[in-house]
């Protein structure tokens, strides 16, 4: 297969970005999107392109930087806004599990980084998502010290509750929900953590503090408000639903009213 790739290039956080277009051919249908980018990078390196060469007048900025790691859809490192959709045209996958058979041969594919005020670009397609870590540091945990726990089977959790908690816990922290939201809201991300813990008895003692602290941190870090467009749910690679946002809202209101 062959493609024209229109890719966002940006030297660093301060630089002004621009699109560059590359042609690539000989791609197997079974290659993943990121393998295709690997092949493109090999090609660009062999052509002698790099950011230094650009200063000498080279037309291409060289290998494209993008975040990736596990390549099996679980680490949440990969991002990419592909043809206007977070993680590309396939549903319920991260970019690393998107395969070229989902594209038309000869197509022009536009690739951009997550675009959100809370996720500044580091380089090309790489963004800074430390805001997510900060939200979780505000309260996305149960305060148990190593060694204090009682026997695991002393805490009974109904099968369905555990499953529902697991549905929310499946969040990989990729940021697709934020990137796809017109308000740049992190509600689905926050809701996944709050909801997963709120469903479990272990999570109840700190439920109020957690909901308030995490929402406050989200606001502080420049994420937008939720206006119930449900775009996040559609693009979440792990199929996390807005039902968890509803639970977050309940938890948050309960906490506020008891103040």
């Amino acid at each position: 297969m062959e493609f024209n790739l229109k890719i966002w290039r940006q030297k660093n956080a301060k630089a002004k970005g621009h699109f560059e277009t590359y042609h690539i051919s000989g791609i197997e249908e079974d290659a993943s999107f990121l393998e295709m980018l690997d092949i493109l990078n090999e090609q660009l390196i062999r052509e002698g392109c790099d950011p230094v060469a650009v200063e000498r007048g080279c037309q291409s900025s060289g290998p494209v930087s993008f975040d990736h790691d596990c390549r099996e859809g679980i680490c949440g490192a990969c991002s990419l806004y592909i043809d206007g959709r977070a993680h590309g045209p396939d549903d319920h996958v991260t970019t690393c599990q998107l395969f070229m058979r989902h594209f038309k041969d000869g197509a022009t594919i536009t690739v951009e980084p997550w675009r959100s005020a809370a996720f500044p670009v580091i380089k090309d397609l790489v963004v800074d998502r430390t805001a997510f870590d900060k939200i979780l540091q505000a309260g996305g945990f149960i305060s148990v010290r190593t060694g204090s726990a009682q026997d695991a089977n002393n805490i009974l959790i109904p099968h369905d509750k555990a499953e529902e908690s697991m549905d929310a816990a499946a969040c990989v922290g990729c940021g697709a929900c934020v990137a796809t939201c017109k308000n740049g809201s992190a509600m689905l991300f926050v809701a996944a953590r709050v909801s997963s813990l709120a469903l479990l008895p272990q999570g109840r003692p700190e439920a109020k503090r957690r909901a308030k602290a995490m929402v406050a941190k989200m606001d502080e870090l420049g994420f937008g408000n939720c206006t119930n467009t449900r775009a996040c749910e559609l693009e979440c690679p792990k199929g996390i639903t807005v039902a968890h946002i509803a639970r977050l809202n309940r938890e948050f209101l309960k906490a506020k009213f008891s103040d």
Partner: protein, 648 residues
């Protein structure tokens, strides 16, 4: 360094060794803990749990990772589960039995005392994880559910769908976040350790490269913990995450830490087969699938032909024409034999011509019987996300046709040599999790990597490091302006300058792929003397070519992924050579290490206890000089060493 190369296994009966050691360990009072600094490198299960636990104890901890967030560490990709000797199933499980299975599964090449301790603390890990809010699978009564894994006959594996590693890591990461919020731990994401700083023979700090700015930075501490995982990516294609690397461990080796059993690499039997040259990563299908999936190839070569030509589908081959070769060869364990055994058996069938895909390198993992027996819903609950993942990758549904699988590099049992306290041969330097060599011998059992990472991080190193630090609290903070730091930084700078100045024609990945081919061909599932000697030569040549002709684009002072990869590949050459050297020395078949010269008439692995019942610990002797082999004899006082038998 002879005195530092003692295992320090406590005296006394096996079951009391850990209790005894703990009672001997000197404590550090809370006001002194505040004065002590610890560096933890790596944020997977081992690193995150250690840093969180040390933070809770009151130490000042700095934690480093190469990803944008600690949560991305490769522990996250572990699927199937975590073992613990809870005996919740009433199937006669016990600490002893978990210990026994692990020693036997490791083919009698792990230390008794370390493995017993691992089994002993395993139950507390599950308690801890449940308290953190990890949504383990539950029975309808609300109690925890279990499943079986390879190499054992009890159900002791706890799981959270096929995402157990993810959930355990998010639990450890949550505890880490709690400590970051409390100010006891400071987190440095996108920082790569490029050297260890040793002062007067003791580990005192690290040199890192800030992966965003490219700046080299110095960090000092009273002790350093390495938790950077394994070196499976030496093979280029593996189930490891793309950024997983052996560099931190290798830098420790170069600074004097012995490296143990490097040749023990695990080849996992159930991975999605290689599809072509453009591939850069292999995907694991959890071993838990072998609980209900049955592995087979056709009995008739004409069926194989038709399958390869797509004239028939696997589901059309009648029952009597299928060879369930694991059930045939190993009736007592069937599809649940340990990984090394299952991998070799798959290779044997494929080498004999029965491989079922176009490349001839695949066997079937079939769920049709399980779907009939358990029903769609039960199977979906157990394996739904794995089926989905398989279908996404291969565009074939395991609900309709059997999965195709083939062995791939997955885990490395070898690693930095540590004593019973998990201290390396460099005082003040500790290694935990996959980065050390200690618990899995020649082969790791499924669902034991998560157990070991968390055992080391939550319960062992936070205790044992106290013994070392109890003598250090009067020492001032390490001054990073000392000449040792300057020298280490200068050496790192020289490496970077060299790589950026070569300006050749070949890419880092293309050379790494070649290294991978050499490793898989000669240091893979079957190894022999001639091949291993050849591999050492080929790696040397390739390395020479790398320094002559690699092209690393860009500059140091920017986000530069090619430079990151080039630095790691330098170290993979060294590790690959060390693996081949160790495999050459160990002229026996043992666990994941199969020497063609050492097999039974039936083609089963033949161990040589008389000559090789030892840990091979290698000491670095300088660039281009052969490393020196030190042997730690393995003594079995509580287990009778027998030939592993999974047949009856």
């Amino acid at each position: 360094m002879a005195d530092k190369f003692t295992s320090k296994i406590p005296d006394g009966p096996l079951a009391q060794k850990w209790t005894k050691r703990k009672s001997e360990i000197h404590l550090v009072s809370p006001n002194n803990k505040r004065k002590l600094e610890i560096i933890v490198v790596g944020t997977g299960l081992g690193g995150a749990s250690a840093a969180a636990s040390l933070g809770e104890l009151g130490y000042n901890v700095k934690i480093f990772c190469i990803s944008d967030s600690p949560r991305r560490a490769h522990s996250i990709a572990a699927q199937g589960g975590i073992n613990a000797a809870k005996n919740y199933q009433n199937d006669n499980d016990s600490i002893y039995r978990l210990f026994y299975d692990t020693i036997k599964g490791g083919d009698y090449r792990a230390r008794e005392a370390n493995v017993y301790r691992l089994a002993e603390v395993s139950a507390a890990i599950i308690d801890q994880c449940v308290a953190q809010g990890i949504p383990f699978a539950r029975e309808y009564g609300g109690y925890l559910a279990n499943r079986s894994f390879g190499g054992v006959q009890v159900s002791r594996t706890f799981y959270a769908r096929g995402q157990t590693g993810q959930q355990l890591l998010l639990g450890a990461y949550a505890s880490l976040n709690k400590e970051i919020a409390a100010g006891t731990v400071k987190s440095y994401p996108r920082h790569e350790m490029l050297d260890l700083v040793v002062i007067n023979g003791e580990a005192k700090g690290i040199i890192t490269r800030n992966l965003v700015t490219g700046q080299l930075e110095r960090f000092g501490a009273h002790a350093v913990i390495i938790a950077t995982g394994g070196y499976g990516n030496t093979y280029f294609l593996s189930t490891n995450a793309m950024n997983s690397n052996g560099s931190a461990a290798l830098q420790c080796y170069k600074k004097g830490a012995y490296f143990a059993n490097p040749c023990f690499a695990q080849i996992h039997p159930t991975c999605i087969p290689v599809h072509g040259d453009q591939q850069c990563k292999l995907t694991l299908m959890s071993e838990s699938l072998r609980n209900d999936g049955r592995i087979w190839v056709p009995k008739k070569l004409e069926d194989v032909e038709k399958l390869r030509k797509h004239q028939i589908k696997a589901s059309q081959i009648p029952e009597e024409d299928r060879d369930y070769y694991l059930e045939r060869r190993y009736p007592a364990f069937g599809n649940l034999v340990p990984r090394d055994v299952a991998s070799r058996a798959a290779k044997e069938r494929c080498d004999a011509g029965f491989g079922v895909n176009e490349t001839g390198k695949a066997v079937y993992l079939d769920f049709s019987e399980a779907i009939q027996r358990l029903g769609h819903q039960k199977v979906a609950e157990r394996y739904g996300n794995l089926f989905e993942m398989y279908e996404k990758i291969t565009a074939s549904s395991p609900w309709e046709e059997p999965m195709m699988i083939y062995p791939a590099i997955h885990y490395t049992m070898g690693g930095i040599w540590v004593d019973y306290d998990l201290q390396t041969t460099i005082p003040g330097l500790y290694a935990i999790g996959e980065a050390n060599f200690s618990d899995h011998g020649g082969n790791r059992l499924g669902a034991s990597a998560l157990m070991q990472g968390l055992a080391d991080g939550y319960f062992i190193v936070p205790v044992t490091i106290g013994d070392y630090l109890s003598k250090k609290f009067a020492e001032p903070k390490t001054d990073v302006n000392r000449p040792e730091f300057a020298e280490a930084e200068k050496a790192v700078q020289a490496r970077i300058d060299r790589l950026l100045s070569i300006n050749g024609k070949e890419t880092v990945d293309s050379i790494h792929k070649e290294l991978g081919h050499i490793m898989w061909e000669y240091v893979g599932m079957a190894r022999d003397k001639a091949g291993l000697e050849k591999a050492i030569g080929l790696i040397k040549d390739l390395r020479k070519r790398f320094y002559e002709n690699v092209k690393v684009p860009g500059t140091q002072f920017e986000f530069n992924q090619e430079l990151e990869k080039a630095l790691r590949l330098e170290d993979f050459f060294e590790i690959g050579e060390l693996m081949a050297r160790d495999a050459l020395n160990r002229n026996e078949s043992c666990g994941g290490h199969f020497r063609v010269e050492s097999q039974t008439e039936e083609g089963e692995a033949k161990r040589d206890d008389a000559n090789y019942m030892y840990v091979a610990a290698w000491e670095y002797k300088g660039e281009g000089v052969e490393p020196e082999l030190h042997k730690e004899p393995l003594v079995y006082e509580n287990i009778k060493v027998i030939t592993r038998n999974y047949k009856d």
